[in-house]
């Protein structure tokens, strides 16, 4: 009788020990896994965004199960505090973010939008780079021009962004844009 009890106790002890060792190793392996932030940044300015850039960002996000982070960049005039409310800019940004989110949701892509302020678009972008993490940046060369990024801004972005940067240059006939 006592033998049976001792054998049973030894089995139980062995199983518990095995479980403890296995679970410790599993936890260890899990903590070793890299913390992947799977986000695709899509910065834009003004009241329209290149359809080509948006579609590319959405295709990438869908393929990689990533979250799309559309970011409206607002230039705050120097006479205003940088952190002030900007209702006029917000009136442009909100419908655009709504339109992008609608399109993304239609394709099953999650969205986590941002609005960033700066003294210039580049300044706003640099502020965004400081406190957000993402794996890719998709930007359209057609978003350049008077209201968007300059060629210098794009060069700056290539140098500074801690992520892959995809700059799209559509053909001259491709003028499709998404507007709110």
């Amino acid at each position: 009788m006592i033998e049976h009890f001792l054998v049973g106790f030894a089995l139980l002890l062995g199983l518990s020990g095995g479980y403890l060792i296995a679970s410790t190793r599993w936890r260890g392996k899990r903590s070793e896994r890299p913390q992947q932030v799977h986000q695709i940044l899509l910065p834009f300015t003004g009241t329209e965004i290149s359809r080509r850039a948006l579609d590319a960002a959405l295709r990438l996000a869908k393929a990689e199960h990533a979250t799309l982070m559309p970011a409206y960049l607002a230039a705050v005039p120097k006479q205003l505090p940088l952190e002030c409310a900007i209702p006029a800019e917000a009136a442009k940004a909100m419908p655009m973010l709504e339109a992008i989110e609608q399109r993304a949701t239609g394709q099953g892509v999650p969205v986590d939008a941002r609005v960033e302020r700066g003294r210039s678009y580049r300044h706003a972008l640099s502020r965004l780079l400081e406190h957000e993490t993402f794996d890719r940046v998709v930007v359209s060369a057609t978003a350049t021009g008077a209201a968007g990024f300059s060629g210098d801004d794009l060069v700056w972005l290539l140098a500074k962004a801690p992520a892959e940067v995809l700059i799209l240059r559509p053909g001259p006939e491709d003028r499709r844009v998404l507007t709110a």
Binding site: A74, P81, P87, L97, T105, D112, A113, V115
Partner: protein, 374 residues
């Protein structure tokens, strides 16, 4: 000695006729037999304004040396010793040069009022401190001379001098505001129709808020319990709306915030965002990132993000609704309920029961479902 009666004529921009109206009412008072004197007048070489001032006694200005130049300022001691029944003092936002009794003219006015003299004065809306940034953003023009908003609160009467933007531009074109050389520059800059329309809206809203806050203050009986109870009792009677949106630190809340902001814009009201945080849960990691994003969005929109720690969402919301005087409550669509939670009353109904009568609850659908339900 009783404080004098204070009346402010508020306008959206130069040239709407504030000074003219102040003088007109001053003349009417004089004709009714009161002792009226002009403490300070800035006629801006406008003939119509100067004509209204004719016949009214003018307290002579005093000359002050400032940065090597002699400037003319209101003679505060002169007005006080003249002791009229009513003093007309233009441009209350004016900054006095150093060396005078006060730094600002509204402070001079406070002294005149304290001497028992009634005062009529004028100010443009962009001089109010809280509106200075907003007006600068709308118009691209920043005004240096500002006054605290509380100055309007000290007035017994605030009269809005309203004029349509088109009428004001017509006055400008006719040379009734600035001399000929400056008209085109004014039309190209500050006096654009869209600027004036925005300023007009700001002015109308400001006066509406003043009227509302005065009405609330006047009707609160002193014996009615704590401040919270008084506010709670008065809020349902308020004319203005205030919107409260319930958010969570999740990306999906951003859509709710956008919807709430759009509604707040339409209603012309303030927007508060509220996250009721479960007690003891630290704000870190992804939650911290989302809270930062919400805070940033609130700041861009001019909304206020409130974080209340409470284990009962409904109780916390009801308290905030009372404290903030919210009249609209916006909530996101709840996820499908499972298990025993199906037996519980839905959140919107619980909120409606817990909040004061008259508070509307609006549900914003998730993206992909139907757009919005009331």
């Amino acid at each position: 000695m009783d404080r004098g009666h204070y009346k402010i004529f508020l306008g959206m921009a130069a040239g709407v006729g504030k000074t003219y109206r102040m003088l007109q009412e001053g003349r009417a008072e004089a004709e009714a037999g009161r002792d009226v004197a002009i403490g300070y007048l800035e006629p801006h070489k406008r003939e119509e304004t100067s004509a209204q001032a004719r016949g009214l006694e003018l307290v002579p200005r005093r000359t002050v040396a400032y940065r090597g130049v002699e400037v003319e300022e209101m003679d505060l001691p002169g007005v006080l010793s003249r002791q009229p029944d009513l003093a007309l003092i233009d441009e209350l936002a004016h900054s006095n040069p150093p060396g005078l009794e006060h730094g600002k003219r509204f402070e001079d006015i406070a002294e005149v009022l304290a001497a028992g003299i009634d005062v009529f004065s004028t100010v443009n809306v962009q001089h109010l401190e809280s509106l200075n940034d907003r007006v600068a953003e709308l118009t691209g023009v920043r005004v240096r001379e500002t006054v605290p908003d509380s100055v309007l609160g000290t007035a017994d009467e605030v009269v809005l001098i309203d004029l349509t933007p088109e009428a004001l531009v017509a006055r400008l074109r006719a040379g009734k505001i600035y001399p000929g050389d400056n008209i085109q520059a004014a039309l190209d800059n500050f006096f654009r129709i869209e600027n004036l329309a925005a300023l007009r809206e700001v002015s109308l809203r400001q006066v509406a808020e003043e009227v509302e806050s005065k009405r609330l203050t006047l009707h609160v009986p002193e014996q009615l319990g704590t401040r919270e109870e008084r506010v709670a009792a008065e809020v349902p009677q308020a004319v203005g709306e205030r919107l409260l949106a319930l958010v969570r630190p999740q990306p999906s809340s951003q859509r709710l915030v956008r919807r709430a902001w759009r509604s707040a814009q339409r209603l012309g009201t303030d927007l508060d965002l509220l996250w009721v945080k479960p007690p003891g849960k630290p704000i870190e990691g992804d939650v911290e990132r989302q809270v930062t994003a919400l805070r940033q969005l609130a700041s861009v929109l001019g909304a206020t993000l409130l974080i209340e720690e409470h284990d009962d969402l409904v109780v916390a919301v009801a308290r905030v609704v009372r404290e903030r005087g919210s009249t609209y409550l916006m909530v996101g669509e709840s996820l499908p309920r499972k298990g025993l939670s199906r037996l519980r009353e839905p959140l919107p109904q619980r909120l409606m029961r817990a909040t004061p009568g008259g508070v509307d609850v609006r549900i914003v659908a998730h993206r992909g479902g139907k757009e919005e339900s009331e």
